[in-house]
């Protein structure tokens, strides 16, 4: 790549209020880290609710988690961890200016994210059939605990909110593919890939906490 083309490319992505690409990159990255902190606090509220009710009703959690399908939960964990690897590889490709590799890795990540959602859909559907519905629609008789509805309220809130984050991640990665195909991303400017990757790792980490806390209690 010649010197002039780098300069031209730099101009196209550098916003007016930044002095250079480094400053812009560091600012964006820090912004995403700060955002991830807010995400942790956001989920933290639900984790607090989980902890409080688990401390009050330990039996409830032991009984109710039996209804969750550990096998498919484990598969989903593997799927998400795999997608974290591919998103990291996408960042690597972008750093090395391998746009094709970037796009392929993004496609694989999107595919894994969809797999996660499909498995989640079947898990939800299976529970709905049994009558394990969220909130006051709950009418399952199989758990001999009067607060069983609360466990599943927490379950649906946590996994539902996590699912929404997965969907947002899919949207972001489709946006990245579009950008990459337009040749906007290159080794001199891969900020969107980097920060989307950060976001995706957090979505993954939250699931890694959700899986044992909800599925693997006994």
């Amino acid at each position: 790549m010649s010197e002039t083309s780098v300069v031209e490319e730099k101009k196209s992505h550098l916003l007016h209020h930044f002095v250079d690409s480094d400053q812009q990159f560091e600012a964006s990255k820090m912004g995403m880290w700060v955002f991830l902190v807010t995400e942790i606090l956001f989920f933290g509220g639900l984790f607090a609710a989980y902890i409080v009710y688990r401390a009050w009703y330990p039996d409830l959690y032991l009984q109710a988690s039996e209804e969750l399908d550990t096998f498919w939960g484990a598969v989903n964990t593997a799927v998400l961890i795999g997608s974290s690897l591919t998103v990291a590889m996408a960042i690597r490709s972008a750093q090395l200016n391998q746009i094709k590799g970037l796009i392929i890795n993004l496609y694989i990540t999107i595919g894994l994210a969809f797999t996660f959602m499909v498995i989640k859909y079947f898990e939800y559907a299976h529970k709905f059939e049994k009558g394990i519905l969220p909130g006051s629609y709950y009418n399952y008789e199989g758990i001999a605990h009067e607060k069983a509805n609360i466990f599943f309220s927490i379950y649906y809130m946590m996994t539902g909110l996590h699912g929404i984050h997965v969907l947002i991640g899919i949207g972001l990665m489709i946006w990245l593919v579009v950008k990459a195909k337009k040749n906007v991303l290159h080794s001199g400017y891969y900020t969107p890939v980097e920060i989307t990757g950060l976001y995706w790792h957090l979505v993954d980490v939250i699931w890694i906490f959700l899986f044992p806390l909800l599925y693997l209690i006994d």
Binding site: L15, H16, H17, F18, V19, D20, Q23, E26, A27, S28, M30, G31, V34, F35, V37, T38, E39, L41, F42, F43, G44, G45, L46, A48, A49, V52, Y53, P134, G135, S136, Y137, E146, K147, N149, I150, S153, I154, Y156, M157
Partner: protein, 579 residues
């Protein structure tokens, strides 16, 4: 590598003096005009002004609701509205004033305008996100307004369960509105933190950061740490109403006290979101109008952070009577007292700054004095409420109402007004009438004390808050209080009058009408579109009034941008070619 870095550290930056242009032809207000340009602007100054208009609008609405409340309370029984309407009116007064005025007023309105100027930056780190946060605020506001017209809300601004989960009206719409609004607050905080870290002009080290920015920095930290918890709380409450998830509703097996814990984990730090940026403004104003170096720079800066930190550990003092364990109450009570320490440090440092200064009692300084007086009363009564035994007597009485208004209105709103009057010339390039400003300030001060001092007495005698009826013995207090509210209202109308007059026909302001050394005054009024025509270079602290003005108007001489963190501008290096 290490040697390379150390040579980079002493890289010389050529600086020269840039005198701000007086009465500029072109500035941010007359460039990129037109409705569409304003609505899509990413300029932090214009976004700040749009926020300012919005918060002024909501302050007006909230204020009118307050007058309705006070008018209703003229007589012990029904005066002119029904009890149900009264419940909705005080709920809306609280929710609108807190979520739509107090929280965004200093950070989003004044902070947006002033923060990049004080850093010598062209904009905040994420200008488009900044615009987005404004529209998120507007969407949240639309939800709230819809809630008002589709049944209203009568839960009080705290939305306590189980009442809020079962009562009629548009609680869901309202909580969704506040939920959305929270994201606006989070994004503003995020933007400010990154901007302060990454976009400082050469020479603005952490110990030359204006105290206003320390205040905004501490505020932003609270915003990003506390607001997400409010978001999840309100989401759970919304789900409680939509699906009956039962986490907070005892009828479904949930726990209403858990809601209170969640709510106050946000809402106590939230009162510091409201007051801490006010502290920043007061520091600027007191130093500027005392013509003196601020006393105890680091004490003031760090006490803001200390308040932000302790603020996260005291939420339980709202729940002394809600049935939490007495051990928890004792711990929360003790921690609450600790807040008094950094706050006291601030007050004493401000007083020490004024001591032997040459005080110029311009309107912003007058408001700062009002702030000191009222906020100190608010703070001390807060200590009494934090004392466990006393609080059992005073809990949920008018004493709490008075304390809260002394802190929020007497503290925060006065600081906001000090800041508004202080930066008004920079915002609009116009001066306002000093005479009318002082009259208005006096009326607000007198009216405020007339309104809320009697409420301390009433509260101590047992008048409960939020009640529609009251026994006859409180009538004279209530009537005096209502009178005060009207006096205050007149004060605010005068303010609206002279500020509008200033916009239309005010005298043009010079670049630095207060003779301040701070960076935002070293550019023309109103500021240019990109804040500075040069890259400013800072070699002195923002309050070094003993040094000549010329040393505060330096910028990089060459086209080289010098914006890297590793460039160190020292005093000696700057002595090159001053024009």
């Amino acid at each position: 590598m290490a040697t390379e870095e150390s040579t980079a550290n002493v890289k010389r930056v050529q600086v020269k003096r840039f005198k701000p242009e007086e009465y500029p032809e072109k500035h941010y207000l007359n460039q990129e005009t037109g409705l569409w340009a304003w609505m899509t602007t990413v300029d932090h100054k214009k976004i700040g002004l749009m926020y300012l208009m919005s918060v002024a609008f909501f302050f007006f609405i909230g204020g009118m609701l307050a007058l309705l409340i006070r008018t209703e309370l003229l007589t012990p029984a029904r005066t002119f509205m029904d009890a149900d309407v009264y419940n909705q009116v005080f709920t809306l007064h609280g929710a609108i004033m807190i979520f739509f005025f107090l929280i965004p007023s200093v950070p989003a309105a004044l902070g947006n305008f002033i923060l990049p100027l004080q850093l010598g930056a062209k904009d905040v780190a994420f200008p488009r996100l900044n615009l987005a946060s404004f529209y998120i605020y507007v969407i949240g506001a639309l939800f709230t307004i819809t809630a008002i017209f589709t049944g209203g809300v009568d839960t009080g601004w705290t939305f306590y369960t189980p009442y809020s989960a079962t009562t009629g009206g548009s609680v869901m719409m309202m909580t969704l509105g506040v939920f959305i609004l929270g994201f606006s607050s989070i994004l503003t905080g995020l933007n400010f933190i990154v901007t302060i870290h990454k976009l400082r002009s050469p020479g603005i080290t952490w110990n030359r950061l204006p105290l206003n920015l320390w205040g905004l920095y501490a505020t932003s930290i609270i915003q990003i740490l506390a607001t997400p918890v409010l978001a999840i709380t309100l989401l759970l409450l919304t789900m409680e109403r939509a699906l009956g998830i039962g986490i907070f509703d005892p009828a479904l097996g949930g726990d209403p006290v858990l809601y209170q814990h969640f709510f106050w984990f946000y809402s106590h730090p939230a009162v510091y979101i409201m007051i801490v940026p006010g502290f920043g403004i007061i520091s600027e104003v007191i130093s500027t109008f005392s013509r003196k170096v601020i006393f105890g720079y680091w004490a003031i800066a760090l006490s803001s952070l200390a308040i932000a930190f302790i603020g996260f550990l005291v939420w339980g003092h709202h729940m002394f009577t809600a049935g939490q364990s007495s051990l928890a109450s004792m711990v929360f009570s003790f921690l609450t007292f600790l807040v008094g320490i950094p706050t006291g440090i601030k007050i004493f440092n401000w007083l020490a700054t004024m001591y032997r200064g040459s005080i110029d009692m311009k309107t912003p300084m007058l408001y700062a004095m009002v702030f000191l007086f009222l906020f100190t009363i608010g703070g001390f009564t807060g200590i009494m409420l934090g004392a466990l035994a006393v609080d059992i007597h005073l809990h949920d009485t008018y004493y709490v109402v008075a304390h809260f208004h002394y802190v929020m209105m007497g503290g925060m709103v006065m600081a906001f007004l000090a800041g508004l009057h202080y930066w008004w010339p920079k915002m609009f390039g116009k001066m306002y009438s000093e005479f009318w400003a002082k009259i208005s300030c006096g009326l607000v001060f007198i009216g405020f004390n007339m309104t809320f001092l009697p409420q301390f007495i009433m509260g101590a005698q047992g008048m409960p808050r939020r009640y529609f009826n009251y026994i006859d013995q409180f009538q004279s207090f209530h009537q005096f209080s209502t009178m005060g509210a009207y006096v205050m209202g007149i004060g605010f109308f005068i303010m609206a009058g002279y500020l509008l007059h200033s916009l239309m026909k005010g005298k043009r302001a010079t670049a630095n009408p207060w003779g301040s050394r701070a960076l935002e005054w070293q550019t023309s009024s109103p500021a240019p579109l990109h804040n500075f025509e040069h890259t400013p270079v800072i070699i002195n602290g923002p309050y070094d009034y003993h040094k000549p003005m010329s040393e505060f108007q330096l910028g990089i001489a060459t086209s080289h941008n010098g914006h890297h963190g590793n460039e160190h501008v020292s005093h000696t290096e700057s002595k090159t070619e001053q024009v």
